[in-house]
């Protein structure tokens, strides 16, 4: 039985002496999700996943059950399982903890997927910054194989042959985008593909492919072990389970926490159990949710906010990767957004013009506001540019650049207006 407010994903993290040890992993219910799965009808596995209502933890929050069903129905004898461990979202360091301190849970989730889809090959694409963790993960893979959970005839089931290979990233944020990640695994440059087709139909080496985040895979064994309903009950109506959150910025207790979806944001920010309030003695001003491409909320508008998918959507916010970056009242929103824009200008892969040039123009415009050299009309130009980059970019990176900017503009318009040099008179008739 799992109860609310009990760590589910981090349970072993705090207990295991050696994270890669299969025997120890099993002492804490490790591999019991897989053992359940192989006794179940495959349709029944999919039903449990639907019931659990786990939303993808990489950021897009797409219902995992639906994604798995799509792949299950996809035509093709060769299906690939891919774990996205390219965590590169500033403010996010959750996958790292699972990969390092509970790698076998991620492996178990991937093996369950391998079983369900009769896949032969799984890949985990791990960011190049986590080289030490790649070694630990490899050790966990080797141990799992020795114990018969990977390799040939897994658990004595004839034909259940499945292996997992670690592929290293090498420093490209855009490879966190699933189709770019697949290109990178194929040994190409990691530029996104044009979609559709859906990766579940045409993915790695043009075969049907499942791509899920580390935290999502780690949740799968829990669902099968405890049942979909029990998992769902940990969260709320619009998303089951617990969520790993990463607190950083001007908050006292920076770090990784596991919370039930549905926890109050005030608790997360101020209770001693979690954030513990401001680290600088200054009042908190705004929060950047879910990574650089996530929206920003003003702390004063979030007093009644519930940290859940629907709770944040209600406030035009989103959970994204689980990053919660908190800034105090000494940080100017424009200054902050300049740095965010610089990040995107740096990480745009350059494949499509609206994103390549647009991110640069956005950065230039924001810099003008920050230096108080913006002129009348620049605000409109900025808004137009944000709209163009959102609508014309080919992949999620370009399409979401405007999220933080737009929410910053909405909550703190006066800080932008203060960046406009009054002396300039508007050009009559307009330029366009």
């Amino acid at each position: 039985m799992i109860k609310r407010n009990q760590p589910v994903l981090l349970e072993r993290v705090n207990k295991m002496r050696q994270a890669t040890n299969v025997g120890e992993y099993q002492e804490y219910q490790g591999f019991s999700g897989l053992l359940k799965a192989i006794e179940m009808d495959k349709e029944a596995i999919l039903d449990e996943l639907d019931l659990a209502h786990l939303r993808g933890r990489g950021g897009a929050a797409f219902p995992l059950g639906k994604k798995w069903r799509h792949l299950y129905g996809a035509k093709g004898d060769t299906k690939y399982i891919v774990c996205n461990a390219d965590e590169g979202e500033p403010g996010t360091f959750k996958d790292k903890v699972l990969l390092k301190h509970d790698p076998l849970s991620v492996i178990e989730g991937m093996v369950i997927a391998g079983y369900l889809f009769s896949a032969k090959a799984g890949y985990i694409y791990m960011r190049g910054e986590y080289l030490g963790i790649q070694k630990i993960f490899q050790e966990a893979l080797d141990n799992a194989e020795k114990a018969g959970f990977l390799g040939e005839n897994i658990l004595g089931i004839p034909g259940f042959n499945y292996n997992i290979t670690i592929i290293s990233g090498a420093g490209a944020y855009v490879c966190g985008e699933n189709s770019a990640l697949l290109n990178s695994i194929e040994g190409k440059t990691g530029r996104p593909r044009v979609k559709p087709p859906h990766l579940a139909d045409v993915g790695l080496y043009l075969q049907p492919t499942l791509v899920n985040n580390v935290e999502s895979f780690a949740g799968i064994p829990v669902i099968l072990r405890e049942g979909g309903q029990a998992y769902r009950d940990l969260g709320t109506e619009d998303g089951g389970g617990t969520k790993l959150i990463c607190l950083s910025g001007h908050i006292k207790n920076r770090g990784l926490y596991e919370v039930n979806l549905g926890t109050s944001l005030q608790d997360i920010l101020y209770s001693e159990e979690y954030g513990g309030g401001t680290s600088t003695g200054r009042p908190l001003k705004f929060i950047h949710f879910g990574g650089q491409s996530g929206p920003i909320g003003a702390v004063q508008n979030l007093e009644d906010c519930i940290y859940s998918y629907e709770g944040l959507w209600d406030k035009d916010l989103s959970i994204g990767s689980g990053a919660i970056v908190v800034m105090d009242d000494q940080v100017s929103i424009v200054d902050y957004l300049v740095q965010v824009a610089a990040f995107f200008a740096h990480e745009s892969c350059g494949k499509c013009t609206p994103c390549r040039l647009g991110t640069t123009r956005i950065l230039e415009l924001l810099t003008k506001f920050n230096n108080q050299t913006a002129v009348v009309g620049d605000l409109e130009r900025l808004e137009k540019m944000l709209m163009h980059v959102t609508n014309l970019s080919a992949c999620g990176l370009g399409q979401s650049v405007a999220n933080p900017m737009k929410s910053g503009l909405a909550y703190f318009p006066e800080e932008f207006e203060a960046g406009i040099r009054e002396a300039v008179t508007p050009v009559k008739g307009g330029l366009w």
């Binding site: 790292k96 090498a170 420093g171 490209a172 944020y173 530029r191 920076r254 990040f343």
Partner: protein, 162 residues
């Protein structure tokens, strides 16, 4: 640390099964194993030959991924996280202090070839900012004094593994 010999480089390629899927694993391992911290032309050729890839394909990859370098690097490349969580919790101090100590601007090696520093995006240590990363080692929760200490320690060869 000296640079890898030809056979050591080949051993890394073979340990990755000469598998084009793992080209990044190989290139990173070779680069981190070399004192100059970059993939030279002969090495790019070597990798290409083993993987049956053209030199152009290898260079396309070398130029796309930020960790991979095609020019010699200083012995210690100090990478500063400049993403917002770190930058606004003391990160701006790092570049200033390093410029003061090392007396070179970002991206320029010190005359003795020992140090170079530059900014990179998030390295996944956002709860410990400000941070500097050298190869795979992260120096966290830095203060001005700790940066002076770090440079001093590096100069005295305290970190053999780096």
């Amino acid at each position: 640390m000296s640079s890898l010999s030809l056979s050591e480089k080949e051993a890394i390629i073979l340990a990755n099964d000469s598998d084009p899927q793992r080209i990044l694993n190989m290139l990173i391992a070779i680069q981190y194993g070399s004192e100059e911290g970059y993939i030279d032309e002969a090495t790019a050729q070597l990798v290409g030959d083993h993987l049956h890839l053209s030199q152009a394909r290898v260079y396309e990859i070398l130029s796309f991924y930020a960790i991979l370098k095609t020019e010699p690097q200083a012995k210690y490349v100090l990478k500063i996280c400049n993403s917002t969580p770190c930058l606004f919790t003391g990160g701006t101090m790092l570049a200033e202090v390093l410029e003061t100590i090392l007396e070179v601007p970002a991206d320029e090696p010190t005359p003795d070839g020992l140090f170079m520093y530059h900014s990179i995006p998030c390295i996944g240590a956002c709860d410990k900012g400000p941070v500097i990363k050298i190869k795979d080692t992260v120096f966290a929760d830095l203060t001005e004094a700790k940066v002076y200490q770090l440079i001093d320690d590096l100069q005295r060869g305290c970190y053999q593994e780096l």
